[in-house]
Symmetry: C3
């Protein structure tokens, strides 16, 4: 045998010699039972909780969504304050584009025929005056409505207030109708079209499900029990599902979430991927600490008079903003999470012998026998060991 061959053989031994622990078989049913039972518990957790309940073997992805909305309905208002008026979609939906957030006007304070001019301020302690000296020219109170001209004018026969440069006449927004002007809005309907994508899994879905046909879509209306898949919603129904009263909400406005949950299980044995609708009021109704409760905003329509002067109609619009909130997570079997969770579980399985050993060596009657056969103390060198230990451990 040459030297190289010997070296090579040593190397082969190093690589391919298999080192395996010596084991001791204990034929005790009690220890065996503890061992198997603990194993069973770990397996139960892995199969039952991790796999079935949590589906931890799945990779996940978040939803990308597109929404279009289309409101239908019209109303006719005839109040003492204003002329009779017919309202259609172009009048009461702002913005008109039908994205994932749309506003339905239900109440308003209209101030028509405003022009850039001068008029006395609305009366309140800080604006009332006796003569021009009380009004500082050019000053503007952040809570006021314009820039002071320095004059004190008659607001009414009894009250004098400082004159301001502003859009006049000023808006008096305390005159909000107590009953919503467009009470009829509760019967408007909205069609919501929602397409979603899970880019990681290349899955596309839409909320008009494949089994629904066109004729059904033309007459259906969403109802959680009878028509859970119909994408047409009556506004009153949405609001009442959210636990609110439409007519209450219509007066001061609010924000209502139409929440579409697209949680999907995309494994071939599950194939569950349908939208779930829920509804929730998103602003706080009546908390103690609130500013500007409800929901309103101001916008204006601009006109020009025949002589070229710009006038506007200022509208303080109260209404319900509907926000379509799409969320969801899709899960599909993935190797990495499976391996990670299986690995973690196997680690716990490898802990089971530790438990069984402990039971065997402390609780069993024959523990000394087991100990004697399982554990070898380095006996042969006991004397020298103990001596050297004594030196190193000892405190004398």
């Amino acid at each position: 045998m040459t030297k190289t061959a010997g070296c090579c053989q040593g190397c082969l031994h190093y690589v391919f010699d298999y080192e395996t622990p010596k084991t001791l078989v204990i034929p005790s049913i009690r220890v065996g039972f503890v061992f198997r039972f603990t194993q069973f518990l770990v397996v139960l957790y892995v199969v039952g909780y991790v796999c079935v309940v949590q589906k931890a073997y799945q990779e996940t992805d978040s939803v990308l969504s597109t929404v279009t909305t289309k409101v239908k309905g019209f109303a006719f208002t005839n109040t003492s304050d204003a002329d009779p008026r017919f309202w259609d979609v172009a009048d009461y939906v702002v913005p008109p584009q039908g994205g994932d957030s749309f506003f339905v006007l239900t109440n308003m304070v209209v101030t028509p025929q405003q022009t850039q001019s001068r008029c006395p301020e609305l009366p309140n302690p800080s604006t009332s005056c006796v003569d021009d000296c009380d009004c500082i020219e050019g000053y503007s109170d952040p809570r006021g409505n314009g820039i002071l001209t320095g004059l004190c004018e008659n607001y009414s026969t009894t009250v004098k207030t400082c004159e301001v440069i502003s859009w006049c006449p000023l808006e008096i927004d305390t005159k909000l109708p107590e009953h919503a002007l467009l009470a009829a809005a509760e019967n408007f309907t909205v069609l919501i079209k929602n397409s979603i994508t899970y880019p990681k899994f290349n899955v596309h879905r839409r909320n008009i499900l494949p089994h629904i046909n066109s004729s059904y879509l033309k007459r259906c209306e969403f109802n959680r029990t009878t028509d859970p898949d119909c994408p047409i919603f009556r506004l009153k129904h949405i609001v009442s599902e959210a636990g609110e009263e439409f007519q209450d909400m219509a007066v001061k406005g609010g924000i209502l979430g139409i929440i579409i949950d697209w949680s999907c299980d995309l494994d071939w044995w599950a194939r569950k991927c349908n939208p779930q609708y829920s509804f929730r009021r998103l602003d706080n109704k009546n908390p103690a600490n609130n500013v500007a409760p409800g929901f309103n905003f101001r916008f204006a329509k601009y006109y020009k008079t025949p002589d070229g002067e710009e006038t506007r109609t200022l509208i303080k619009a109260y209404g319900i903003r509907f926000d379509v909130v799409v969320h969801g997570t899709a899960g599909k079997f993935g190797i990495v999470p499976t391996v990670v969770n299986l690995g973690a579980a196997l680690t716990f399985l490898s802990l089971v012998p530790v438990v069984a050993d402990w039971v065997m060596l402390t609780c069993m009657g024959k523990r000394d026998l087991y100990k004697k056969h399982k554990i070898t103390h380095l006996n042969e060198v006991a004397d020298t060991e103990t001596m050297s230990m004594g030196t190193s451990y000892g405190t004398q």
Copy 2:
């Protein structure tokens, strides 16, 4: 030696005595090969799949994005229906603000000079009447266009329909032009500026890449092969990349997704963080079950006549809504996911001996020899053990 010292030494022994399994070395190349080969497979999976393919050692974060869009282009329409008209951005982009969703008007039904008044309904089976008795005053059909006045009027010389209070004249939206009015919109361009942030990694990027200079930006146009980094897109090109025909889509409208994928690998050895553009139609074109196909909405321009009466021009706008959808995940080396995946892999490595043992003890020729040396049955007490076992296990 005092008692305390003895106790202390015992304690030290308890803490620092090292318990290690006794092992048996089997110099069998077959068993060794099975062992090493199984180990190799596990390492291959970890290095190859977990690290290289899945990059499971990375922490991830989701993108936050801001988008501005600016459309450019103008068109001139000259049809028999309407006056010749010049269109620019302020006319056809709704809303004008240039956010992440913008609408380009391509076709429309215009109903000018509407006023709050009375007119006969559009003729259809439910609105036609013979005399006033057929029209119930105050009733409003959800599919109609207004509130019935109770009168039956001549719609044309041959047809009588119920009169309604509404914005009159009523819109006749069946007269949609067959060829898109703004066919020229296909040559409009849009500049998309997109800034993104990965807040966890404090990374900011924008889609105008550092190597691009201003003069290139002024003349470039996106093209997947020649100009993949140019942020200026011709609308026709976007639509055709999505597999659609612009002129078809322009007639009834639709929704087109401009999808920007910002998947980033932020590790210093990768440093890959560029946007990838893709385009996809987001609404369904022609499924069997569809309502309101395409994309349209109604909006109105309000005017006042010299005598103060409000009139409006109602526009049913058909067009393409472009949604800029930004998504992406950034990954960067993280200790926790690395440890978790490494831990899982090591667990599988610790399973390898189980496989090798099984092969050794069942498939090898010398399995009895191996078994004899590896496994000790509690022999000394064999008799008593078996007896007690007999009692407990036996069924007689």
Copy 3:
């Protein structure tokens, strides 16, 4: 004993016999110390880094958010270019609805009284002409402002340019005021109301915190040190917190992010879930490679003259778009991530003996003694084994 009983008993032995490794106890303080110290390091990592720093035992969820914004303030402009004018919210906030992105107009180029007509192009090298032959009828230059009529007209007494069909007079957007027109916008305030949900944990929060009362809300203004919870922000303060100068930004516009971080720790021992505000400019101010710096868009107000002709006022609006960006992750103790991380850590603990064995068998003085007791080579069959090995490994 019957045959069945014997088989059954064998089966019971198979299931319940407990196989445990034989171990050797080494009473060496050095090996023990290495063992315990390595164990300690692993435990330190798990407890210190994984649990305390990374909170890897938590499940996470992403935030769903709703935002309403309401700007307050007015301004008065009096420049030589235009009539004195008073501005309020309805004039300068576009769109008016108060969603999570709002635009405050600060500067503008106004082109009033545009009508559909003909006018000479703005002079530049490509539009100037000598006679009609230089102007091709029907041609439209993408960088021009309209469709050529084929005529060459006097733009001024010295310059002739091609006539175009367009909205005339043309906008001259080079006349942008150097100082922002609505410089006063810096003192406008915005109230931001933000409600968030973590759907997985069913947690709802709003940015008006419970301990804040209404009277405080009416007078407070956000300040990072004195009023960090006040949801009312002065625009100037927002911009300066983002490291920008309001008056600079107001001239050409820009995009400013109001970033609300709702990172929450929902475990009962933590209960930390408050918004953190930060501000950052989202567009690039002055990079070398920029197109259309700042932020602007064009919109128009449409009017009708008494004789029914449509005119419009075109506004190129420069201003600051405020984007409210809400992000955040909530974490709460979860069994699966806890088990996974604990499993990974335990795996590393199970590696500790490997390290200790290596130290014991290579670095210790008594390594041969340890080796002799720990490792048994299959001695009895050594001769035959080696021979057969020789045959299989050997190279002669």
